[in-house]
Symmetry: C2
Subunit: 616 residues, 2 copies
């Protein structure tokens, strides 16, 4: 049968209203599949070095994968690519929900948004049309209500949506993009959308999403369903979502508490899955097909937060706004999660930024004079609602918090940089790498900065390793992380969700599904090559922006301050040998961290190889 892999791109220029349809070069699509990798290539090609993230020339790519809208479990996803206002580097933010499949039903696999509308607008995209509509009345409106109003206005309750809140409008560099109750959270794609005056995108399509080889596809999907039914980890997730892992992370001394001052605490047990369970009112999912149902609808029924509802919080939020801020008050965290979604703030960056400010306050680096009178104490849950709103609207001390951890530490000085818990400007995800050393490479070398997204596989491999000391060793961690990155890239390019992809699918199974869907005949090795290609394109984007080995680093706290107590006691991160190892397995120059000519050419990326040769 004919290969069905095509990428239909829809390009909308908000400056002049021009709309273009394009089919991407077949060779690129076959080499990169879709989603994240293909988006990375478009970003690489179209966003020249030095582009201002919040300038008119930055672009915003919404990219779905060839599995979106098919029966592959966990495939209802899309990702957003842009140059990040938080890191100034490559950004990919990924989200579940109905937007990706619905976009494909309009006949498009990728949206590219260029330029900047003069006034707030929203887009309505259907099979054959793009409408640019006035959004003046929606500007300032919470994401949930704005989506509801738009559905009313276009008279289509089944339209699927992606939308920004006040944080995006005010260009908070860690503003998220919300689709229904799900976030493309990290790195500030919402701020890029905000500066473009784009409040929301509604899509509604009716086209069929066919697969090239239905028999092969069906067989591959069936096999994954069978296999996933037997996964113990996935069963745990069905019960408690991602929060199930919080218990283990604290027990192993990997849960960052009070801004990474501790990695295991008694009070964090207030965040355990057993506590969380009492607030779950419904087990749900991004959208079918999904067997994990990691999404938990939570509701607070009594006490000061009664009436608070969220779809979540998931683990990273309980880590960031919870453990990292010393807060183990589940109802307050459910409300905080909801508010971050409403106002469009990334929960990780908000939580870690607040934790940093709390430590600065604790150490006297900042005082009430700086906070506008707020006593910024670890553990004070009553601060959350007000500070979330203030941050999204950039006012009061929220104006400072909105800068994120890196800029705050530059502003505050006085040694605070040592415990500003970011990498390349992105606030770290919820794993203390002193307790699981591979995580050091995940954070230090992440294409988008201190990102949690690539971290799942390494920390699980380390935490659940039969040898309890293995996680403290640096041996073989370069290869482990390289493999994890590549697996994530190919999962994100397909796109399939982290959880089945990491905990369920083998590369062979993913290759089977992709082969069935696309008509390409992909092997397990092809998967790895595609992953490595994507990973290197991202690296090349960042190298072109100036990234060198010295940028691949971590906060001093992780390198020099050992964990004070618990299962990880006395550990620090030995970063330099880890980097040597990782660069070696990646084929990157040991001194500069620049991807090597030879490997790039082997990967079929000669243009990027040439570009890398010319960087100084």
């Amino acid at each position: 049968m004919a290969a069905k892999i095509r990428c239909h791109q829809l390009r909308i220029n908000l400056s002049n209203g021009k709309v273009e349809e394009e089919v991407l070069p077949e060779q690129d699509v076959e080499m990169l599949i879709g989603g994240r990798s293909l988006g990375a290539l478009v970003l690489y090609d179209e966003v020249p070095v030095g582009t201002e993230p919040l300038g008119e020339n930055n672009i915003l790519i919404f990219s779905a994968g060839p599995l979106a809208g098919t029966a592959a479990l966990g495939s209802s996803r899309y990702c957003v690519l842009t140059k990040s206002p938080l890191t100034g580097l490559y950004l990919m933010a990924i989200s579940g929900g109905h937007f990706g499949p619905e976009l494909r039903k309009t006949g498009h696999d990728m949206l590219v948004i260029q330029g900047r509308a003069e006034k707030p607008v929203y887009l309505v995209i259907s099979n054959g049309s793009v409408q640019i509509k006035d959004a003046g009345h929606l500007w300032g409106m919470p994401t949930d209500l704005a989506q509801e109003i738009i559905k009313d206005e276009i008279g289509d309750g089944k339209a699927r949506m992606t939308c920004i809140g006040a944080a995006g409008e005010h260009q908070v560099p860690y503003a998220s993009i919300m689709g229904e109750r799900r976030a493309a959270g990290r790195g500030g794609a919402g701020a890029v959308m905000g500066v473009k005056n784009l409040k929301a995108i509604a899509v509604r399509g009716t086209k069929n999403i066919d697969v090239a080889d239905p028999d092969r596809f069906r067989k591959a999907v069936k096999e994954t369903i069978r296999k996933m039914a037997g996964s113990a980890q996935l069963s745990r997730m069905v019960k408690h979502g991602t929060v199930t892992f919080l218990d283990d992370l604290n027990d192993h001394g990997i849960l960052p508490c009070r801004n990474f001052q501790e990695a295991q605490t008694e009070w964090a047990k207030g965040l355990y899955s057993g506590v969380f369970e009492d607030f779950i009112v419904k087990h749900t999912h991004c959208s079918p097909p999904c067997a994990t149902r990691c999404s938990k609808l939570t509701l607070v029924r009594s006490g000061p937060y009664a009436g608070a509802v969220s779809e979540g919080p998931e683990y990273e939020t309980l880590y960031a706004i919870g453990a990292c801020c010393g807060i183990a008050d589940m109802p307050a965290l459910i409300e905080a999660d909801y508010l971050c979604d409403r106002y469009g703030l990334d929960t990780i960056s908000f939580g870690v930024s607040l934790a940093f400010a709390m430590e600065c306050y604790e150490k006297g680096i900042i005082t009430k004079e700086d906070t506008g009178g707020i006593e910024l104490r670890f553990g004070d849950a009553t601060l959350l609602a007000g500070l979330i709103r203030d941050t999204a609207f950039r006012r009061g001390f929220g104006e400072i918090l909105a800068e994120g951890t890196r800029r705050m530490s530059q502003r505050f000085g006085k040694g605070s940089e040592a415990f500003a818990m970011h990498a390349k400007g992105m606030e770290l995800g919820g794993y203390d790498p002193r307790g699981a050393k591979a995580g050091a490479l995940t954070f230090a070398c992440g294409s988008r900065g201190g990102c949690h997204h690539a971290g799942g596989y390494p920390w699980m491999a380390e935490m659940y390793h039969p040898d309890p000391k293995a996680r403290f060793s640096i041996e073989g961690k370069g290869a482990l992380v390289k493999r994890a990155r590549e697996r994530r890239v190919i999962a994100d390019s397909s796109i399939v969700c982290t959880f089945p992809a990491i905990l369920g699918y083998s590369d062979a199974e993913l290759a089977g599904m992709l082969s069935g869907a696309t008509g390409l005949d992909l092997s397990e090795e092809d998967m790895q090559i595609i992953g490595e290609r994507g990973s290197n394109i991202e690296r090349a984007f960042n190298v072109r922006e100036g990234l060198r080995r010295s940028w691949d680093t971590l906060p001093e706290r992780l390198l020099k301050e050992s964990v004070p107590a618990g299962s990880t006691k006395s550990q620090v991160v030995e970063l330099e040998p880890l980097l040597d190892d990782f660069y070696s397995v990646c084929g990157w120059d040991l001194k500069t961290g620049i991807p090597g000519q030879q490997r790039l050419n082997e990967l079929g990326l000669p243009k990027i190889a040439r570009d890398m040769r010319s960087v100084k």
Copy 2:
């Protein structure tokens, strides 16, 4: 052509899950048309004297009118009838929105809910089926989110909804029922729904709604459209909704301020339509067809309430939570309106109850000891959000506020009854009857208590009377109020919205539309008779419960305390002569207030006439 007037009733018993369909007796339907009047008759027949409002034997009727779902302007409405937990008497609460038309599309004109589910449930009603679904996970959830989740669950974004919030679940006697962003607000129908463990009703129908005589109907509708286009009052409402009248009411000394201590204030200008206008982001309506678009989507874009959005507040909310509580802070009131809707509280009863408590606090009748430490000062907008939540969840001082004004005054004593601004337990609407005397009868004799709903026509007639002193006179006010009541009853039975009905349609025009829709040949006089019938059925329901002349009264403040300043200075209400006049024109016994045999028989209500004869 054949008369098309039928009332298809769907009866659902939550105690045993039994569902029955019934067609109401044709004679009843022809005599009462539908909506409110027909619902009143069902209530009269099925809720025996002494029924406990929050007991299992109370019923809840959702009634649409014969115009719902047709092209008649303002006909997208439904009403809820039950015995009120606030007044212990007849209750009809009315709402705009899509629920009424959608119910009719399922082939039903009226729902009767009996019994009590063992556990929280919601109903899904479509053309041919009724499903009773578990709502355990939705119990405690705000109305907006619960509706969204239900739409997701039943996979139908176009289902129409009616739903309670925490206030209904906690049986607050002034809990509302919310449909989308609209309330059937008054008298605590939400508490009855709550005690029945019924969280929500979703309806979705596909049947056509035909009219009996399309030509006659179309002609009548066309005529009303032509006429309404020329209405100056409706033009004002298109611009500022009901808030447009707040300016005039204050200017005339009819706006109750600080719990009716004043009727005209300088600070209330902070609530004027010009201020309100700055927060309007969209002019909208309950649902088409509507030419008034009185519904204003408001948004706060900066300051401490930034991000607050509401569809409203409309006049009564700005009066009750605003002027009556001494609060002229528009952003705070937009947020308060939204919160009342989310948690399902009637804004009028909440506001007036709070105003009463504020005056008690001001006078030292209650202290911080009673309020749990809260300084309950007039004008303090920062109290609102917390007290709304506390009232809905019945906790802290909210437990007291949740009792409503009458019960609070009984609890507090110390003369506070004199300024407890309710009639028959229902908190008064936003018109000081000392400045527009007909309003005294509207409130004192309202079938559901101190209800604003029947008040529009009289106060407009008085306020805009060419003789500026006419409003202080008691001459002819009985006839004015009788006529206004009847006009409202027939409008609510059709159902058409207050605004076109009062400001646009004549009885003849309404008769024309109803004749076209139903195939009955109705005259202007028929309209008045139907209105009088409905009004007397309601009265009879209350008389049977014990209502006599002495119950038709008003708070002492209105009868004995004159207005201190402004255009209404020195006025009080002369209630007794007003009652004499009103009873006379109604044909009610002057001593007892019981409807007279003769008039009831003339109206074709012999059974009720017999019942009235036997009450003691």
